[in-house]
């Protein structure tokens, strides 16, 4: 085998928004960069994002500000967030959005020619910069063409990483990959590695995520010694498609509710008025998901076990202009005209708030030379992510990780040395599935894993369900050791799935373990045996590492404490911007009266 490694300063695993933004930042610093992805360029999961990018530009609501966005994000995350990340994010997001326009993105406009912003669940103001309901496409297409025009960045599409290499000093040094089209193995050596490989929504049965979202970067880094945090926090988006079966789980953007869509149960009751009279349909995602779930459990579900969502009162012209993709999606795939009819929705696995534990400013993990950003990293969203805060996350922390990795790579002396034996070991491991006779079918193991996780660690969990889940998972993992592959090395999805499933099994174990450890309900984590928030539990992030014996070690990290000036914001029941707005209004009324 040819084991001549390809050398780069910075190796980036992932070509979603986070990976591409990181690549641009690193290249700007003069680094030579390689970007890897499981799919072709421009097809990463980010392309599917619909609703928008949350940034306090204040184009429509001048009272919006970064401290208001900070307030909303911390509150929605139930204070498990790393406040430093939230602070950086809310301050830098507006610049990152504008920068996209400089690079060619074209956002929807206000009448006076500025970037339009739309309301979204639990945001105090109209805040999401958007392009109809295909904002992710605009973001990734813009970065794609920028990358194509950037020297010093080599893109390796359909090149998939299976292992992270460390050097003798325990620093990240490279990766083992296979190339999908011809099955060739590629070895990369690099001074710094960035994991930007997205989330792991495919662990669950009903999911809005694509086949790529199997958490490879998180699992691979975890095996190499990196820390995972908040793994119990999995976001179930309230509105996934329900019918027909082939589209189950595909996302119905929150934009539908943002633009005025209303939720009803089978008795035509607008049930959100009961669960959150203040914010109603635009309550936080964890609240709306649980509400739909409860309605269905109480026997008030729709024919296929969901709730009705209705936007038809907005009229065809408006709907087709603001939500063209949704309109098409339902017409083509479900034979349903949303400008005239209501439709069924139910919660779908959407986003993983947990992930690699990183330093706020740089995205550095506990492994020297290893960085993480985007959905792979934990900390920004805490116990629940606000809509629109992911796309902004990719830009803000993708850039920061890229800058930090490039600076580190420039500092690091010499070339990164890879050990021949670890390369050889990985080569053998990757080829092993072909040698197993009458082994397990990876598609089947995957389906069973998804069933297991949805049953035991879904939207609702308990100590018993999680312990049972871990037991079942252990047995499934044993069978999974015998997953086999047919056919050859050339573009063989069944073979590739073996590694995806291995990664998902690892992360599933971390989800179950973290969920069992958190003895309270908080954000997306809902325990029936501990139905309330517990202030003591809320002071810790649950961190997991993998021991050399393959066992998970759990440890607590205190949630970073806000300085007094930030903490004081939360003495008020409303966000700073809303407070200022109300004060101003009452002053105006006062002076009118005078």
């Amino acid at each position: 085998m040819n084991i001549d490694p390809l050398h780069y300063d910075v190796l980036i695993v992932g070509a979603g928004g986070a990976g591409l933004r990181a690549a641009l930042a690193a290249a700007e610093e003069g680094a030579r960069v390689a970007v890897l992805s499981k799919s072709l360029l421009g097809k990463a999961h980010t392309v599917m994002a619909e609703g928008g990018i949350a940034a306090a530009l204040g184009n429509l609501d001048p009272y919006d500000s970064f401290d208001t966005h900070f307030y909303d994000t911390m509150k929605a995350g139930h204070f498990l967030n790393n406040y430093r990340m939230v602070s950086l994010y809310t301050q830098e997001a507006p610049d990152r959005v504008l920068e996209l326009e400089t690079w060619g993105a074209v956002f929807d406009r206000t009448e006076d020619g500025r970037i339009m912003q739309r309301p979204f669940g639990a945001h105090s103001f109209r805040r999401l910069a958007h392009v109809g309901d295909s904002t992710g496409k605009e973001l990734i297409r813009t970065l794609e063409y920028k990358i194509l025009a950037t020297k010093r960045v080599d893109v390796y599409p359909e090149v998939i990483t299976t292992r992270l290499f460390l050097d003798d000093n325990g620093r990240a040094a490279g990766a083992f990959c296979y190339q999908r089209d011809d099955g060739r193995f590629l070895i990369f050596s690099a001074h710094a590695v960035i994991m930007a490989s997205g989330g792991w929504g495919r662990v669950y049965k009903v999911s809005s995520n694509s086949w790529e979202s199997t958490g490879d970067g998180a699992a691979i880094s975890f095996r190499a010694g990196a820390e995972l945090m908040d793994m119990e926090m999995v976001q179930f988006h309230p509105t996934g498609m329900v019918w027909p079966p082939g589209v189950r789980g595909i996302l119905v953007t929150e934009g539908v509710r943002g633009e005025g869509g209303l939720l009803f149960n089978s008795q035509n009751e607008r049930f959100m008025l009961r669960y959150d009279p203040e914010r109603k349909e635009l309550s936080a995602r964890d609240v709306v998901s649980r509400s739909i779930f409860r309605e269905v459990q109480a026997g008030r579900g729709t024919p296929h076990g969901g709730a009705w969502l209705d936007i038809s009162h907005k009229g065809p012209a408006y709907i087709k202009r603001k939500l063209p993709t949704m309109y098409e999606q339902f017409l083509k795939l479900a034979d349903l005209d949303i400008t005239r009819e209501r439709f069924e929705v139910a919660p779908t696995t959407h986003y993983t708030m947990g992930g690699l534990r990183v330093e706020a400013e740089t995205g550095a993990t506990n492994i020297e030379g290893l960085y993480a950003c985007g959905e792979t990293a934990a900390g920004l969203h805490g116990g629940n992510r606000l809509g629109g805060n992911s796309l902004g996350d990719l830009l803000v922390f993708g850039r920061r990780a890229g800058l930090a990795a490039a600076a580190y790579a420039a500092r690091r002396p010499g070339t990164s040395s890879l050990s021949y034996s670890s390369i050889e070991e990985e080569r053998r491991r990757v080829l092993a599935p072909f040698a197993i006779e009458s082994g397990e079918n990876p598609y089947l193991i995957h389906a069973q894993l998804q069933q297991l996780m949805s049953t035991y660690a879904g939207i609702m969990r308990s100590g018993t369900s999680l312990t049972d889940g871990l037991g079942h998972l252990e047995r499934l993992s044993e069978r999974a050791n015998r997953m086999s592959a047919d056919g050859g090395l050339h573009f063989n999805p069944g073979w590739g799935l073996v590694f995806d499933v291995q990664n998902m099994l690892t992360l599933a174990r971390a989800i179950l373990t973290g969920a069992r450890e958190r003895r309270e309900s908080r954000g997306a984590h809902w325990r029936t045996d501990y139905p309330d928030e517990d202030p003591e539990e809320g002071r810790r992030n649950i961190v997991q590492t993998l021991g050399p014996d393959g066992r998970i070690k759990v440890r607590d990290e205190p949630v970073p404490e806000m300085p007094p000036d930030l903490r004081r914001l939360f003495d008020d029941p409303v966000s700073p911007g809303v407070k200022r707005q109300r004060e101003e209004a009452s002053r105006a009324r006062g002076s009118e009266g005078a």
């Binding site: 400089t102 060619g104 956002f107």
Partner: protein, 259 residues
């Protein structure tokens, strides 16, 4: 959605298996379910019978443009093509890779050339950094072009590329669209007309409109992108009135220096 009568029925589907050198269609059986699309059927075969069946997909909702292929000879997104449409017409379903590009394996084509073209296009070059003042009407006009999901079905169907293999001379409809989008952006400062003509090869297009017909995003590629580009080229390089009086075919005027 009506629960259709096709549910649960086993039907055959023919799928191309092979690589660039050799291959053949093979028949598989799939169990129909309501609303099933051809991609569902292909993934069904992958799960039950042929784990190594190669196909690209990501979103399953016509957003990402990964699953372009040919169904009964017509370029289509597999995730947006319904099985029941064929069943209703009693038509057998044959799935093959896009023909204009070399085949890697089964339904997966080698479309690297498209990205090489994309890399050559001079990037957006605004007069100044954002914030920009852009009017809603400007944005509306650009939006159509920006709907493109880069499925390359238009490149697949265009006869200049498909039958005459002229990708070296003509960038193809997807990239005419891209050039039109850049050209019509109110803040772009580049003069792109010479590029459209020389590197882009817009003259090769003879306005058959096949690309617009297959575009899953219903972009009027020919009307709204290619014809305006052609007009700009004509305005710059041809003098139609003089040509008319001389009764000759149009001949290019000398190229003005690039701005």
């Amino acid at each position: 959605m009506t629960e259709d009568g096709f549910r649960g029925r086993e039907v055959p589907i023919w799928i191309f298996r092979g690589d660039g050198l050799s291959g053949e269609e093979r028949q598989y059986m799939v169990e129909l379910s309501p609303g099933m699309v051809v991609l569902d059927a292909v993934l069904y075969v992958q799960q039950h019978e042929a784990p190594d069946l190669a196909v690209r997909w990501n979103c399953k909702a016509a957003h990402c443009g990964s699953c372009g292929a040919e169904v009964n000879g017509r370029p289509r997104l597999l995730c947006k093509t319904r099985m029941d449409d064929y069943m209703r017409r009693n038509e057998a379903v044959h799935v093959g890779p896009m023909k204009t590009f070399p085949v890697i394996r089964d339904l997966v084509p080698d479309i690297r050339k498209n990205y090489e073209i994309a890399r050559r296009i001079p990037p957006f070059t605004p007069a100044h950094p954002a914030p920009f003042q852009l009017w809603p009407e400007d944005v509306e006009r650009l939006k159509e072009f920006r709907r493109c999901i880069e499925c390359f079905l238009c490149q697949d169907v265009c006869h200049v590329l498909r039958d005459h293999h002229r990708l070296d001379h003509y960038m193809g409809p997807r990239f005419m669209l891209k050039l039109a989008e850049l050209d019509m952006h109110p803040l772009d400062t580049r003069d792109r007309t010479p590029y459209v003509r020389r590197e882009g090869g817009v003259d090769w297009c003879n306005v058959t409109r096949c690309c617009s017909d297959v575009c899953p995003e219903a972009i009027a590629i020919t009307e709204n992108a290619i014809i305006p580009l052609k007009e700009r080229v004509a305005d710059r390089y041809f003098d139609p009135i003089r040509d008319f009086w001389r009764g000759r075919s149009r001949r290019p005027a000398p190229e003005p220096p690039e701005k």
